[in-house]
Every structure is written in structure tokens, then in C-alpha cells.
């Protein structure tokens, strides 16, 4: 009698202990099922249907197979968005990472003072939203009264800018229309250069000094030190930071919306500012083409996977 009760007690205890971890990780899996797995499968189903969202989805009537994908790939606006996204990714990523590395190197010089101050400055843009700063950029880009046009006019007066000079531009310029990519990319460069610098700086700090010392004793010059020691050891950091940039840039939405976007939820983005993410958003929420939008989201997903793999190949050496 007595033993039976205890053994039952032990069983209950072990059961509880065995069940506990499942209970602890359950919130993730429940929310994952509802808010991630379901949407992903559903978006795949949706991408095979033509649906405007006005009536409940009928999987027989609305089924169109792969037509949405074909239509998207035939749509010139999709390709325009694709080109815009890639172009902006390139003109954002290159200065951002070069400058980031550059600032990280400067900070890593032992004799540079005010390190904490400069780190704070570099990190500051990260805490702001693209929308808030993008609105300020809008004022700076103003046509004809923005500060940028004023600067250009001043340079013209000095004879530095103007036709046939070093800067062949005549003020006033509608910066957002004429230089859409650069206008949008500048915002991203402003926001993310410092973040990259901080990441690279952390990476540089983790490189043990005795490696540098050994190299110096062996008589290596700075270029050899940089290309043979620093860069290879920084590779994981570069891989991490560039992957984040790729994932972010392919989904670029906030920056073009605030720089060239229209009123409220309706993107009246001029075609040069249209990114894949805005194309997707507009398909769903402005043109009520949910099936096409879902197809776009899968295409974007494969673009991200593809670019991440290439990036990994470039920055991760096997040896």
C-alpha cells in the first residue's frame, strides 16, 4: 500500500519534470504555428490562387496554378522594382561597409581618444526610425528651397558647380526625382554605417595582439598585416554584417516609402523608387491582388536565399 503511493508520487514527479521543458518552450511553438507556419503555408496556397480579398477564397474557382508567378515575372514593373532594389542595395552596401570598416580601424588605433564618444555617435542612428530621419531628409532634399539646393547654388556662385565644371549640375534640382536611388540610399547609409562600424570594431578587438606582434617581428608591413591577419580573422564578422545588409536591403520598404512615397497607406511611389517590398505591398493593399502579392513574397524569399548563399561563398573560406 505504502510503497504504491510513493511510487505513484515519484511517477507524478518524473512526469512533471519531463513535461516542464515542453511547457516552457510551448509558447514559442504555439505562436510559431499560428503566426509563422500557418502564414507561410497559407501564402504558398494563396500564391496559386487569383483572389481580390472581397469574397472568401474558393480554392477550386480561384485556383490558377503557377500563373501568378508567370504574370509577376512578365510584369515590367516587377523587373523595374527588382532593378531598383538591387541597385539601391549595391549603392547602399558598398559605402556602408567600407566606411564601417574604415571607422572601426580608426577606433581600434590605441591612441585615438574619446572612443566612447565616437562609438556613441556611430551608434546613434540605430535608435532612430527611418521614418523620422527620412522626413528630415525630405526637407534637406527640398525643391527648390532645400538646404542641398542652397549648397549647390552657393557652389555655382563660387564657380565650382554649374555646366562645364567639376560638378555639372544646375540648381534647383529635384533631388528625389533626378537622383532617386542615391536619395534613398543616403538614408540607409546614414543609418547603418555606424552600426557596421561598431560590429567590425568588436571584431577587431577580439583579434589577439600577439598575432600582430608576431607579424611585426617577422617584418610584415601594414598591407601584409591587413590582408593576411586582420581581414581573414574578420571574415565571420563581415559575413554576419553583409548578410544582415542583404536581408534588410532586399526587403527595403520604409526608406523609399518615406522619401518618395505618397499619402498614408497608398504607395504612389514613382517607379524609380519602387522596391520589391513596395511592389508586394501595393499588389496586396492597393490593387487587391493577394495571390500575386503572395507569389512576389516567395520570389523575394528565393532572392534572399540565393544572395545569402553567394555571400557565404564569397566571405567564408573553407580552409
Amino acid at each position: 500500500m505504502n510503497t504504491k503511493v510513493t511510487s505513484e508520487g515519484i511517477n507524478w514527479g518524473t512526469f512533471r519534470r519531463k513535461a516542464t521543458p515542453y511547457v516552457f518552450v510551448a509558447p514559442f511553438f504555439i505562436s510559431f504555428l499560428i503566426f509563422s507556419t500557418f502564414p507561410i503555408f497559407y501564402s504558398f496556397v494563396l500564391s496559386l490562387n487569383s483572389w481580390d480579398g472581397s469574397r472568401p477564397l474558393n480554392y477550386v474557382e480561384n485556383f490558377v496554378g503557377l500563373n501568378n508567378y508567370v504574370n509577376v515575372l512578365k510584369d515590367p514593373l516587377f523587373w523595374q522594382s527588382f532593378v531598383n532594389t538591387v541597385a539601391m542595395a549595391i549603392i547602399t552596401a558598398i559605402p556602408q561597409h567600407f566606411l564601417g570598416l574604415f571607422f572601426a580601424f580608426i577606433l581600434n588605433q590605441g591612441f585615438v581618444k574619446l572612443k566612447e564618444f565616437f562609438k556613441g555617435v556611430l551608434f546613434l542612428p540605430y535608435i532612430t526610425s527611418s521614418i523620422a530621419i527620412g522626413l528630415v531628409f525630405n526637407v534637406l532634399y527640398g525643391n527648390p528651397y532645400g538646404l542641398l539646393n542652397y549648397a549647390l547654388a552657393s557652389l555655382e556662385k563660387l564657380g565650382i558647380a554649374g555646366p562645364g565644371t567639376l560638378i555639372p549640375l544646375t540648381s534647383p534640382i529635384n533631388w528625389i526625382r533626378e537622383f532617386t536611388w542615391v536619395a534613398i540610399a543616403s538614408l540607409a547609409i546614414w543609418r547603418w554605417t555606424g552600426w557596421n562600424a561598431i560590429i567590425y570594431f568588436a571584431g577587431l578587438q577580439a583579434i589577439p595582439d600577439n598575432l600582430y606582434e608576431a607579424a611585426r617581428i617577422d617584418g610584415a608591413n601594414w598591407a601584409q598585416v591587413f590582408f593576411k591577419i586582420t581581414l581573414p580573422l574578420l571574415r565571420p564578422m563581415i559575413l554576419f554584417a553583409t548578410t544582415m545588409t542583404i536581408i534588410g536591403q532586399v526587403q527595403l520598404f520604409d526608406d523609399p516609402m518615406v522619401i518618395v512615397g505618397g499619402v498614408g497607406a497608398m504607395p504612389t511611389v514613382s517607379n524609380r523608387g519602387m522596391t520589391l517590398a513596395i511592389y508586394l505591398y501595393a499588389n496586396a493593399f492597393s490593387w487587391a491582388r493577394f495571390g500575386i502579392a503572395a507569389a512576389v513574397s516567395w520570389i523575394v524569399f528565393f532572392i534572399i536565399v540565393f544572395l545569402s548563399i553567394i555571400n557565404r561563398r564569397v566571405f567564408q573560406k573553407k580552409d
Binding site: T20, F35, I40, V121, A206, Y281, V300
Partner: protein
């Protein structure tokens, strides 16, 4: 600690080197130039970084006529307070600004508190227990980290519509409360910092499983909770796409959506917009200035582990 001593050692090496080169070349101008070349880019970047914040203040204290003139405004005038108040009134006539600000604060706080709780719980579950299916579950979770937010945005909207959650704050903060990134971060930290013996000892003393987590482990992981909390708060505060999709009426807008909605195509009231931007940006900037050292070290830790 190790990092500090490292950088000191490096500083010593570098200073020895500069001394050596000075002896060799005896050219102080060249050394000065070298220092200038190092500081100049940093100073230029500092100005570029800070300028939009300054310009935000300038424009927020200007009338329409003062903004749209040539040369454009570059510093504050003596009537800045009057203009700021005018712009503030104009802002309130256009959007329910304080309601929007409260929405942003409420969503950010709820999402931060709830995800701290659920992610640390999940991370603890993965770190401190061995259970059937643990590895496969963990792999699935890591895989979800790679799925971009954009893919789910349309089903997410439809799901929220089906739940009747459009225009509600919970549509924004509930889906992310137990997210893979947070659980991963917590698991890594708990594994590295909490000895399993501590948990076993508490169990021998008769503590319940949940109270071991809540009373013993949770207070010990405050460093990672701090960094994760800051990241979650900022992510929520700056989130634009989510609220843009979910919040369909002016009263439910969060700050980014509300401010962006003020942009028309012509005659944009930038003075009013900048008042809203200043009020919503500067509290965060102040907190950041006070805690920047802490925040940066926490955030880089997270990135280094990720």
C-alpha cells in the same frame, strides 16, 4: 577585462612605434598629419550624424514661410518658441498626436515585457533540460530565423482580420512575444552563465520547476534581459510595416505611421511634422546619451553571439 588590457597593450605598442618613427624621421608634421587623417573622418561623420537631429529642431521652430524661403533656415530665430507652439497646435489639429505616441509606448512596452518573459522561459527550457525532440525542435527554431518578415505579411494581415484584431495593439505585439531570436539569445546566455548544479540543488531543496526559473534563474540573467529588452523596444518603436498594415484608423496609428501620414504631395506642413518628430525622437536620444556605453556593449555582445 581581457579586451581592456589588450587595447592597453596595443596602445603601448603603437605609441612605441610612433616614437620609433619619430626618431627615425624626426618629422612631427607627418605625425600630426597622421593624427589629423584619423580624426578628421570621425569628426566629419559626427557632424553628418548629428546634423539631421539639429535640423529637426530648427525646422520644428519655423513657420511655413520661414521654411520655404531662400536661403533655407539654418539656425534658430528669436521667435523660435512662438513658432514651435504654432506648429505644435497645427500638429494637434492634424493627428491625435498624444494618442499615437501612447499607442507606440504601449505596444513597445507590452512587446518588450512579454517577449522578455516568454523568450527567457523558452531559452531556459532549451538550455537546462534534456527532453525528447529537443534537438529537432531547436533546429526548426533556428531555421525560422532565416525566414524574412516580408513573406508572412499578407497572411499575417488576413489572419489578424479573421481574428478581428485589425486596429488593435495586440495584433502588433502578440505574434512576436516568443520569437526565435530571443529564445536563441537567452539559451546561449543561460547555458554559458548558469551552472546546472544550481538548478539541481534548488530541486533537491524542493523548489518547483517554475519557481526555480522565476525566483533563481531569472534574476541572474538580467544582463542579457537588458540587451534583449532594448533591442525589442527599439524594434517595436521603429516598426513601420506592421502598424501600417494593421492600423487602419488615425486613432490607432503608431508614431511612424502617423508622422508619415502627414506627408501629402503639396504644401507639406513640415513644421508640424518636425514638432512630432522632435517629441518622439528626443526622449530616446536622451536615454541613449545617458546609457550609450551600456547599450553599445550589450548590443555588440548580442551580435557577436548571433
Amino acid at each position: 577585462m581581457a579586451v581592456q588590457t589588450d587595447s592597453k597593450a596595443q596602445a603601448r605598442i603603437l605609441s612605441l612605434e610612433t616614437k620609433g618613427s619619430l626618431k627615425r624621421r624626426t618629422n612631427p608634421i607627418k605625425a600630426m598629419l597622421k593624427i589629423m587623417l584619423l580624426y578628421l573622418p570621425l569628426i566629419i561623420w559626427t557632424l553628418i550624424t548629428i546634423y539631421p537631429f539639429w535640423y529637426m529642431i530648427v525646422v520644428s521652430a519655423k513657420s511655413q514661410a520661414q521654411i520655404f524661403t531662400f536661403p533655407p533656415p539654418m539656425s534658430l530665430d528669436s521667435d523660435f518658441f512662438v513658432q514651435f507652439t504654432n506648429n505644435y497646435r497645427s500638429l494637434l489639429s492634424k493627428i491625435p498626436f498624444w494618442q499615437n505616441l501612447w499607442n507606440s509606448i504601449y505596444i513597445a512596452c507590452m512587446s518588450t515585457l512579454l517577449s522578455i518573459f516568454f523568450c527567457s522561459l523558452g531559452g531556459y527550457g532549451f538550455a537546462m533540460y534534456n527532453f525528447r525532440g529537443k534537438n529537432i525542435m531547436f533546429s526548426i527554431m533556428i531555421f525560422t530565423l532565416m525566414i524574412p518578415q516580408l513573406i508572412g505579411i499578407i497572411p499575417y494581415f488576413l489572419l489578424m482580420k479573421a481574428f478581428g484584431w485589425l486596429n488593435t495593439a495586440r495584433a502588433i505585439y502578440i505574434p512576436g512575444i516568443a520569437n526565435a531570436f530571443g529564445i536563441f539569445l537567452m539559451k546561449q546566455y543561460i547555458e554559458a552563465s548558469i551552472p546546472i548544479d544550481l538548478v539541481d540543488a534548488a530541486r533537491v531543496d524542493g523548489a518547483g520547476e517554475f519557481s526555480i526559473f522565476w525566483k533563481i534563474v531569472f534574476p541572474l540573467i538580467t544582463p542579457v534581459i537588458g540587451s534583449f529588452g532594448i533591442m525589442t523596444f527599439l524594434g517595436s518603436w521603429n516598426n513601420f510595416l506592421g502598424p501600417l498594415v494593421i492600423m487602419r484608423s488615425r486613432e490607432t496609428y503608431t508614431i511612424p505611421v502617423a508622422l508619415n501620414s502627414l506627408r501629402g504631395l503639396q504644401n507639406v506642413d513640415y513644421g508640424a511634422i518636425m514638432v512630432g518628430t522632435v517629441i518622439s525622437v528626443f526622449p530616446l536620444v536622451l536615454v541613449f546619451i545617458l546609457m550609450s556605453k551600456l547599450i553599445i556593449s550589450k548590443m555588440t555582445e548580442g551580435a557577436l553571439k548571433g
